[in-house]
């Protein structure tokens, strides 16, 4: 019998697991993907929102603001890159400026500082701002984080404190048995547990509606992002978005924006389109074109247009899609289901969910620990052990790192300058990488401008060396996603065989 079973290892599942890992409890996390952080927390804009815009008093507003304030300490403890690079909404006409002032007012009520900048004030700090920009809202507490690094780090921290992760394990049914819950996975595995935490992202409605009459619906809301090469980052120092727009299908989107990722690439996006399939993150021509077309026009407003007058489409290195779990209630659904004791939801966690997630995890962790009268562990270990990133070291640090571990002198991924030391560490750490994609998520090997063309074969070899696999067993992302399909020497020549027989 588990004390707590968490369905889903996105930002909320990971944060809840980490919060509860401080207590003397047995905790399991079920993840249907081949790696942790496989859904909405993986494919998003990577923004840490200030929290000025959600309607005051809503869960979105409360947890966004609380979450934002946690990021400095959280990322320092977990060694996750995070930058308060600010977020800006630009206005190109008086109507949009009106919206900027409304957002500022909203921020005051949420106790989030924002600055309304008229054009002269804007030009003081961003002298290259496009001619058509009349003013802007700047939120200094906004920032950028690497979403999957954050979630993976929280999982590693949880794992080193005893939380068990079950990957490739898709929960299918939650039911009440006597005074506990029974969770059955697709492969037949059964988990009995005192408490269930439903952090199932786009599938969260399924589990809630199995146990509660207080039903809700999650709409998978799709959006794409484009990633641009590092060469553009010097001219993108803060996130710049258009003024937000209401969506006809309910809710709103913060609209298209350009974001400086903490890893030195530039992210563009995103659009919003309601889907029915909770797992369909395939990018579409329609969606990519929407972003490309938007930036062909929007580009002229951005400071970078002083250096690159036109949107440089050839600078795009990849595109990715993601689904936000949009709840029909239009607000985060957080807490115990009213008619299902010990079944807790963190559902409908769309934007600003990445920012709010850590605070949601703390909140649920506290509620559940109290409910179970759990005691704090004496031997709780904060943080995580991770080898430092080679690319961001100074030359002196690089020298020292190589002296200690010569694998640091072997660059595997040229584009992102990822070393063999980091790749081996990613495989050896708790909740370690088992696939090419999991290595990429932990180290950035294969995430750069060549997209793994040069380094993938070496990553496959290292996975084999570390895990005792043959290259034919290595997958890109679990299941049947084999990278290779056979050996060259295993030829069968049907015609030759026939001749021989004859």
């Amino acid at each position: 019998m588990w004390d707590v079973l968490i369905i889903g290892s996105g930002v909320c599942g990971a944060a809840t697991a980490r919060a509860l890992a401080r207590y003397d409890l047995s905790i399991a996390v079920l993840e249907k993907g081949s790696d942790v952080c496989y859904g909405a927390s993986r494919g998003n804009s990577a923004m840490v929102h200030g929290g000025y815009d959600p309607d005051p008093g809503t869960n979105k507003a409360i947890f966004n603001v609380l979450g934002n304030r946690m990021f400095d300490d959280l990322c320092a403890e977990l060694k996750v890159p995070f930058e308060r690079s600010g977020t800006m909404v630009i206005a190109t006409n008086e109507e949009e400026m009106e919206e900027v002032r409304r957002l500022h007012e909203c921020g005051l009520r949420n106790e989030v500082e924002t600055l309304v900048l008229d054009r002269p004030a804007l030009l003081e700090r961003w002298p290259d701002m496009g001619k058509g920009v009349v003013g802007a809202l700047f939120c200094p507490s906004g920032g950028m984080v690497c979403p999957y690094t954050l979630v993976i780090a929280m999982c590693e921290n949880a794992a080193r404190n005893g939380v068990e992760f079950f990957l490739n394990c898709e929960a299918e049914k939650v039911e009440r048995v006597e005074d506990f819950w029974r969770v059955t996975a697709k492969d037949g595995k059964v988990f009995d547990t005192r408490v269930v935490v439903n952090c199932a992202g786009t599938c969260a409605d399924v589990f809630n509606n199995q146990v509660s009459e207080d039903r809700f619906k999650i709409v998978p809301r799709f959006g794409s992002h484009l990633v641009m090469d590092r060469e553009f980052i010097p001219w993108v120092d803060t996130t710049i978005t258009q003024t937000p727009t209401k969506l006809a299908s309910g809710g709103h989107t913060k609209g298209m924006g350009i974001m400086p990722s903490v890893d030195g690439t530039v992210i563009l996006g995103t659009d919003a389109e309601d889907y029915t399939d909770p797992d369909d993150v395939a990018t579409t021509r329609r969606s990519i074109d929407r972003i490309v077309d938007y930036f062909k026009t929007f580009w002229k407003h951005l400071p970078i247009s002083a250096v690159y007058p036109e949107f440089p489409v050839s600078g795009v290195i990849t595109a990715y899609g993601g689904l936000r779990p949009h709840p029909d209630r239009d607000d985060f659904i957080i807490g115990e289901a009213p008619d299902a004791a010990n079944f807790f939801n963190a559902a409908g966690i769309e934007s600003p969910g990445l920012t709010a997630g850590p605070a949601i995890g703390e909140h649920l962790g506290k509620l559940i620990a109290e409910r179970l009268s759990a005691k704090k562990k004496a031997d709780y270990k904060p943080g995580r052990e991770v080898l430092p990133t080679f690319r961001t070291m100074t030359d002196e640090e690089k020298s020292r790192a190589i002296a200690k571990n010569s694998d640091y002198a072997r660059i595997v991924c040229r584009c992102e300058q990822v070393t063999e030391a980091e790749i081996r560490d990613a495989i050896r750490r708790p909740v370690g990488a088992r696939t090419v994609s999991a290595v990429k998520m932990r180290t950035r090997a294969g995430m750069g401008r060549c997209q793994g063309g040069f380094c993938q074969s070496r990553v496959v070899e290292i996975l084999c060396e570390e895990l005792g696999l043959t290259p034919l067993e290595v997958t890109q992302s679990g299941g049947e996603s084999f990278i290779l399909t056979g050996s060259c020497c295993e030829h069968s020549f049907p015609e030759a065989d026939e001749e021989e027989k004859a």
């Binding site: 484009l226 990633v227 590092r230 060469e231 797992d279 993150v281 395939a282 990018t283 579409t284 021509r285 969606s287 990519i288 490309v292 050839s314 795009v316 290195i317 990849t318 595109a319 990715y320 030359d395 690089k398 020298s399 190589i402 002296a403 010569s406 640091y408 002198a409 072997r410 660059i411 040229r414 584009c415 300058q417 401008r449 060549c450 997209q451 793994g452 063309g453 040069f454 993938q456 074969s457 290259p471 034919l472 997958t475 890109q476 992302s477 679990g478 299941g479 049947e480 996603s481 084999f482 990278i483 290779l484 399909t485 056979g486 050996s487 060259c488 020497c489 030829h491 069968s492």
Partner: protein, 425 residues
């Protein structure tokens, strides 16, 4: 800090030729820095033949061609640092290298030859929509698995791109027992050599679909198929022409991009047209004493030309070390512009004070032109011309011009224009 007269970054065809040529000019303090654990670069995985026809007047395989270049350097005992990755460079010619043998090493060079080669355009850069399954692979990566590691990257493939690499890999996949269902080409023509279309596609009954592209990738674990559509004259997919081809592999061979991150870190001026450094006729970049050659400068069609350009860069670097080459950036140079029909032009500057012998202008035609000539113009005056039966983007064009003819030149321009009734196809 290590000091060296000539530092060569990259031990592929360009770098090896540069090292050998500089040695022949009397330079002895040379160091080649190579990121792999062997010299010769990408040639080792190009096991097909067709290399060396221009330089050696015989037909070699990639590894054979590489062997000859390596032996040149070995004979001369030119030092090489293998498994060494140049992580950054500065404008004062200090290059930071890491290798297991040396750790982090800073090298101060009097002259540098950049010869880092190129990378392949990926699925991401092409922004092909769809899922992200295993089985989407570039031609070079497939070649590495097949020829260096002995593994098959798939069972049934569709190939995107019909340049020479795509064509040659189509044949090799067939020979390895992989079914090649179709080669898909965005342009209305293949940019590959005719002999490759005949020997690699026609001989194996592989269909080639022109004016077509892959508009979607399907499959959640491994590729299960791709959707191909016709494109219009603006290369936009035509609705209603979509068809799905089932396959487990999409092999992409859709162009090469010079790898200039190191050049950018040194602040070298770059060309948006070649995606390589801007150079003068001596292959000298905007930084004095830094030269570029091979695929890092502009993408070549034949390795022979890469080697020849490498030799030129090596000779010019030697002349620079002896005090005989340009100093002071492009200040005293005149610019050479790309006119109609001309792309990826090298060099972009001519240093008249140092102009002697022949100057070679290389470029890629932007389209297919018949009955046309390439001309070098100074203002409206035609200085040189070159006729071809056909100009095509797949073949790099070289125009050799007497330096003496450029004495009074100003505002140079290269363009492709009709001869008499010549028309653009």
């Amino acid at each position: 800090m290590k000091n060296v007269d000539l530092l060569i970054i990259g031990g592929g065809s360009a770098g090896l030729a540069a090292a050998a040529a500089a040695y022949d000019e009397g330079i002895r303090d040379i160091l080649i820095v190579e990121r792999s654990d062997y010299l010769g670069g990408i040639l080792h995985q190009c096991i097909h033949n067709g290399f060396g026809l221009h330089r050696y007047k015989e037909e070699l395989t990639g590894p054979e061609y590489a062997r000859r270049s390596i032996e040149e350097v070995e004979k001369k005992n030119i030092p090489c640092l293998l498994h060494a990755f140049a992580i950054s460079a500065s404008a004062d010619r200090i290059v930071t290298v890491v290798s297991p043998e040396t750790g982090l090493l800073r090298i101060q060079a009097k002259a540098i030859v950049l010869a880092m080669g190129c990378r392949e355009r990926s699925r991401g850069a092409l922004m092909i929509p769809g899922t992200r399954p295993a089985g989407v692979i570039t031609a070079g990566a497939a070649q590495k698995y097949l020829n260096l590691q002995g593994y098959l990257p798939g069972k049934e493939a569709v190939i995107l791109g019909s340049g020479d690499i795509g064509l040659i890999m189509a044949r090799q996949l067939v020979l390895e027992g992989i079914k090649v269902k179709e080669v898909v080409e965005l342009m209305p023509f293949s940019s590959g050599l005719t002999r490759n279309i005949v020997q690699c596609l026609n001989d194996y009954n592989i269909p080639l679909s022109l004016s077509s592209t892959v508009i979607e990738i399907k499959g959640r674990s491994r590729v299960t198929g791709v959707v191909v559509a016709k494109v219009d004259e603006n290369r936009k997919p035509v609705p209603g022409t979509e068809r799905e081809i089932s396959c487990d592999t999409l092999m992409i061979s859709a162009g090469l991009i010079p790898e200039n991150e190191l050049s950018r870190s040194a602040g070298i001026r770059m060309s948006r047209s070649t995606q390589g450094a801007v150079v003068d006729q001596n292959l000298q970049t905007s930084i004095d004493g830094v030269f570029a050659c091979g695929n890092v400068l502009h993408v070549h069609d034949l390795v022979d030309y890469v080697s020849m350009e490498g030799e030129a860069a090596g000779r010019n670097a030697a002349r620079y070390l002896k005090g005989a080459a340009r100093q002071g950036g492009f200040d005293r140079c005149i610019e050479v512009k790309e006119g109609p029909g001309v792309g990826a032009l090298v060099p972009q500057y001519v240093d008249l004070s140092a102009a002697e012998g022949k100057i070679e202008f290389r470029f890629r035609p932007r389209g297919r032109y018949t009955g046309s000539e390439a001309v070098l113009l100074s203002g409206d005056e035609k200085i040189a011309a070159k006729r071809e039966l056909i100009f095509t983007p797949g073949e790099m064009c070289t125009m050799s011009v007497d330096a003496a003819k450029l004495k009074n030149a100003q505002a140079l321009r290269v363009e492709i224009r009709p001869v008499g009734q010549g028309v653009q196809e």
